[in-house]
Amino acid sequence: MSLYPEVTSTGSAMETSNFAHVIFQNVGKSYLPHAALECHYTLTQFIKPHPKDWVGIFKVGWSTARDYYTFLWSPLPESYTEGTAVNRSVVFQGYYVPNDDGEFYQFCYVTHKGEIRGASTPFQFRASSPS
């Protein structure tokens, strides 16, 4: 994930921030509405997962962690060694994902304390995708 110098007011805070401790992998530009959505992500060595951590689908422009559209608990790795990176995934069932509504959404990883530790690139829900 890149950081953008144009937003320098908080730029230095971002570079040293915790917001890229969870990296979302292969996020599509769009997904089918009402279809199961697989979300793959990597917990980097900088985060210690907790059973009450969760992954939410948020409408772009959200302001608090309570603004999620839907969420799933992030499953704990079976055997976890602190300080190692692990790949995880969750599957959002079709009836929980947004409709084809023209909005952009993104995944965010939220800890049990309500801290955002990762945000994905945006995607839409579209009945048919052009590319």
Binding site: Y4, M14, F19, S63, Q106, K113, E115, I116, A119, P122
Partner: protein, 52 residues
Amino acid sequence: VCAGDESVASHFALVTAYEDIKKRLRDTERENMLLRKRVKQMEDKLIRQEAP
């Protein structure tokens, strides 16, 4: 978690989305231009064929 952290996180997530959508806009505009050119070429070809 203090409110400041959350607002920085929210800002960060918005910037992430904004930069990506801006790049997609550039790509889409480029494709739009190419399609326009292609349609023009095909129209020209059709007109030439129809002319005696």
